[in-house]
């Protein structure tokens, strides 16, 4: 029943119902009044006609009875009355005399009865208790019921005319105005039936019209108003419920149609705005919850009103707790509370804090507070956004530790470290550098004159890098050079330098200095001791060599002796040759020994390397040509062009001569049918070393021979060689600080390489000559040359 009641309530509230009710009510009221008025007029018309008819009938009765009355013939009068009363609609005809006694009546029983003057029909004339002389028609009628129907009574006075009072009967005196009264009773049956029929028809017509009008109005209202309004209403409800799928099917052009179109636009706008709102709400909610910050909203009592998950997870606080309880596990507010500033002044503040988590760990965060205002602009809440900077603080600490570590490392390095900052000024000058240069770091830091500390070439590179020139190799590795100390001392160092870049931009440079003073001293000592060792080895080898010669001599002597005994002249000659040869060998050995052992100090002089090599080649050209061997020169013109070279010319001449002579022998021994060729090459290798190379395509060496070629008195030349040539060569090279290497394949040929360090070549005494260039590019070590290199010093 509830739904019915609801429906009814809805209906009673509906606009269509109300309009229908009002229109219907007014219409119905108007109709009722209209019908009433029409009926009233009609009834009156009908009644008047009836009265007139009765009046005419009364006149007819009077006229009909006049004659019999004048003749005083009551019988005839009675007959007339009786006859006329048979007329339809006539209920009764009575004639009263002056006394009120019924003289004639259509109903015989009434004759002779007297009517009461006070009776309804009589009262109109006899109310003053006297016979009236004249009456109006209106007052003569009366309506009364009789046997279930209504009867219209009309009385007509019969006036005294001269013919009456002059008649022979003399019944009526002349002074009598009214002789009697005719009373006609007319049945109103017909009249009533007619009126009823009229009323019924008019009422039905009225009601029908009313119903039709009402129906039409209701139908129009329902179709044109109620339905669209209901649709709008439902759509409104749907939108209110958040459902924007409603589609309003109203196409009319009237106000409701316009309203519907407006509604559709409004719906779309609401939908769009709602969606935007929902999305931004979702975004803000997400932001609030997911942002990796601690966010909470606090009220003026510093109590948390809202907090995000991140904060909840970290500090385990709950709504209603005070911010200081949650963030710092305090019982009272912080002295330096900046949230209060925000709450009182409405200003945004920022501050770094160290909080405590539930587990008691320290948590560093930076906190921002912003006011939240109500619509009047008063601060009601403050929002605290705290960003965890634990990692940053940790990194800062680590960075500090790393910096300390590096500072320590740099400061305590045994090598001097000098670095510049991005402006090209000295920024780092460690203790070792202080000790090396003799300056204090305070004096040096910020000094832009880099040439005091870095080799000229490196300074040039730094300058180039600042100018944006692309350096081929931005570093110098292990370059031996010298620096000038504060006291003016030339100190030998091994220098490595690097240009530091950051995103392609020069951010500084750094140089490392290894003090070589001790090293140089040790090197010289080692050379001396090496020489001593060589002397020892030489003595041992010498003994063997002498033994060999003695063997030859002994053999020769024995052969001579045997020949003399046997008188064998041929044998005698052979024995004597043996003796002579061995004596010659003694002489040669002594020569070589003198050459090797002689403590001639190397005489370094400025040397044209290529000219020196050419001299050697020229020396052997004729001898080589005799043996159909070609000596090819491959001299690098750059050698000596870039810097001056200081060599012991005689020594190097001896070395090259030895190598070329060996090469000629190797070619001579080789039985291959090829054009034998010796290549003499000069050049500078990747490390800046001066290089001499002598290669041949001669007989080559077996592994066994290779392992012994630097041994004293080893010779593959049998009795022709002393076995000291390569030993002498390696000694000279060693004196130049260089090394000697070779590679050889039996049957393929041999290649000897002499490497003399550029620094040595240009500066044999370990100190640069004023007119010499001590700096040489020395970088990438050629690690690919993994050939079978045997250094002279190793072999000795």
């Amino acid at each position: 029943m509830g739904w019915l009641k609801e429906k009814l309530t809805d209906l009673s509230r509906s606009l269509a119902f109300k309009i229908g009710l009002w229109v219907g009510g007014i219409l119905l009221g108007s109709y009722v009044i209209f019908i009433y008025l029409v009926l009233d007029i009609q009834q009156k018309l009908f009644f008047d006609r009836l009265v007139r008819e009765a009046d005419r009938f009364s006149s007819s009765v009077i006229k009909a009875t006049r004659y019999s009355m004048l003749h005083d013939d009551p019988e005839a009068t009675q007959n007339i009355v009786s006859n006329m009363s048979t007329e339809a609609q006539i209920y009764a005809i009575r004639i009263y005399n002056h006394e009120g006694i019924t003289k004639f009546s259509s109903h015989a029983e009434d004759v002779g009865t007297r009517v009461d003057k006070q009776a309804e029909a009589c009262f109109a004339c006899h109310s003053k208790d006297e016979p009236f002389s004249h009456v109006v028609t209106d007052q003569r009628t009366r309506v009364h019921s009789h046997e279930g129907y209504r009867v219209l009574g009309i009385i007509t006075p019969i006036y005294n005319e001269p013919s009456c009072y002059t008649a022979v009967c003399h019944v009526h005196p002349a002074n009598q105005k009214v002789l009697g009264v005719l009373d006609i009773g007319m049945s109103m049956k017909g009249y009533d039936a007619h009126v009823r029929s009229l009323v019924t028809k008019i009422v039905l017509l009225g009601l029908g019209t009313c119903a039709a009008v009402l129906f039409t109005i209701v139908a129009i209202m329902v179709l044109r108003v109620h339905r669209p309004v209901t649709m709008l209403r439902q759509a409104t409800r749907m939108i209110a419920a958040g459902d924007f799928t409603c589609d309003i099917q109203i196409t009319s052009e009237d106000e409701i149609g316009q309203c519907a179109r407006g509604f559709t636009i409004m719906r779309d706008q609401i939908r769009r705005r709602t969606q935007e709102l929902v999305r931004s709400r979702w975004e803000y909610k997400n932001l609030f919850e997911q942002v990796p910050c601690f966010i909470c909203v606090i009220n003026k009592d510093l109590q948390i009103v809202r907090q995000n998950t991140c904060m909840q997870d970290r500090f385990k606080g709950s709504i209603g707790m005070h911010c200081y309880e949650v963030f710092k596990k305090r019982t009272e507010q912080c002295e330096d509370c900046h949230a209060l500033d925000t709450l009182t002044r409405g200003a945004s503040c920022r501050k770094e804090h160290c909080g405590l988590t539930e587990s008691g760990e320290q948590s560093n965060y930076v906190s921002y507070t912003t006011p939240i205002l109500d619509d009047k602009g008063n601060v009601i809440y403050a929002m605290i956004i705290a960003v965890d900077i634990e990692d940053r603080v940790k990194l800062e600490k680590e960075l500090m530790a790393t910096k300390d570590f590096q500072t320590n490392l740099i400061d305590n390095s045994i090598h001097g470290i000098v670095a510049t900052d991005e402006h090209g000024k000295i920024a780092i000058f460690n203790r070792a550098a202080e000790a090396l240069f003799g300056y204090t770091s305070e004096d040096v830091i910020g000094d832009p004159s880099l040439e005091k500390y870095f080799p000229q070439q490196f300074v040039q590179r730094i300058v180039d890098s600042y100018l944006g020139k692309e350096a081929e190799i931005p570093r110098v590795i292990a370059q031996e050079t010298t620096i000038l100390s504060a006291e003016g001392e030339q100190i030998p160092v091994r220098f490595s330098g690097f240009i530091l870049t950051e995103n392609g931009r020069t951010s500084g440079s750094v140089g490392f200095y290894q003090d070589l003073r001790t090293y140089k001293k040790l090197e010289r000592e080692k050379q001396a001791s090496d020489r001593l060792a060589v002397v020892g080895q030489t003595v041992a080898g010498l003994a063997h060599g002498i033994k060999n010669i003695i063997q030859g001599l002994e053999g020769g002597v024995f052969v001579v002796q045997s020949a003399v005994e046997d008188d064998d002249k041929e044998l005698l000659a052979r024995g004597w040759t043996m003796v002579q040869k061995n004596i010659a060998l003694v002489s040669s050995l002594v020569q070589d020994l003198l050459s090797y052992a002689k403590e001639r100090p190397p005489q370094y002089e400025e040397t044209d390397v290529n000219l020196l090599a050419e001299e050697v080649c020229a020396l052997y050209d004729i001898r080589a040509q005799e043996k159909s061997i070609v000596i090819e020169r491959q001299f690098d013109s750059q050698v000596g062009a870039l810097f001056k070279t200081y060599l012991d010319q005689r020594g190097i001449h001896t070395c090259l001569s030895n190598l070329v002579a060996n090469a000629i022998d190797a070619c001579e021994l080789d039985k291959k049918d090829v054009q034998h060729k010796i290549v003499v090459k000069t050049g500078i290798d990747g490390e800046g070393n001066l290089v001499f190379e002598v290669s041949d395509n001669g007989i080559g060496m077996t592994d066994e021979v290779k392992s012994k070629i630097f041994s004293s008195f080893f010779s593959t030349k049998g009795s022709r060689g002393t076995g000291l040539g390569l030993l002498i060569t390696s000694k000279i090279v060693m004196e130049h600080g260089g090394e000697m290497a070779f590679e050889s394949e039996p049957g393929e040929g041999t290649r000897f390489v002499l490497k003399i360090p550029q620094s040595w070549a240009s500066d044999p005494a370990g100190t640069p000559r004023p007119d010499s260039e001590s700096y040489v590019d020395a970088e990438v070590v050629d690690s690919d040359s993994a050939e079978s290199k045997v250094s002279a010093s190793e072999l000795m």
């Binding site: 041992a540 080898g541 063997h544 060599g545 033994k547 060999n548 003695i550 063997q551 030859g552 002994e554 053999g555 020769g556 024995f558 052969v559 045997s562 044998l571 052979r574 024995g575 043996m578 040869k581 061995n582 066994e704 392992s707 012994k708 041994s711 008195f713 080893f714 010779s715 593959t716 049998g718 009795s719 076995g723």
Partner: protein
């Protein structure tokens, strides 16, 4: 029938010296100046003893010795190894180590230069008799 001894050495002086010494002591002597020739002579002359110089050009004494000992028909020919002084680095110890590592039987005698005539003859005598 005197015993035949093959001397293999690249030094002609040594060949003359040892040849003279052995002939004077009643041995028959043949000579080869390198390992290659030596091997041929061992086959052709069928010596009772080989005196082999350790270090020689072409085919060194060691290589020749190894080939000799590998050859089934020749491995029983006794050998006296002579070490030259021009090779102070490789002494007898190195040689012994060398042959031991390669499972080669050691030579029957070993003589170092300078050759002492008496010692040499004694060693020869021990191997082949007078």
């Amino acid at each position: 029938m005197p015993k035949k001894i093959l001397i293999i050495d690249d030094e002609p002086d040594v060949l003359v010296f040892l040849g003279t010494l052995l002939r004077k002591n009643g041995y028959e002597v043949c000579e080869a100046c390198n390992g290659e020739e030596g091997l041929q002579k061992i086959v052709s002359e069928k010596p009772d003893l080989v005196c082999l110089d350790l270090l020689m050009p072409e085919k060194t004494g060691i290589k020749m010795y190894r080939e000799l000992k590998k050859d089934q028909s020749l491995k029983n020919v006794p050998v006296i190894m002579v070490t030259g002084f021009s090779t102070p680095v490789i002494g007898y110890m190195d040689f012994k180590k060398f042959i031991h590592e390669r499972s080669i039987p050691p030579p029957e005698g070993y003589i170092e230069k300078p050759i002492n005539k008496e010692e040499f003859l004694k060693a020869v005598k021990e191997v082949v008799g007078t």
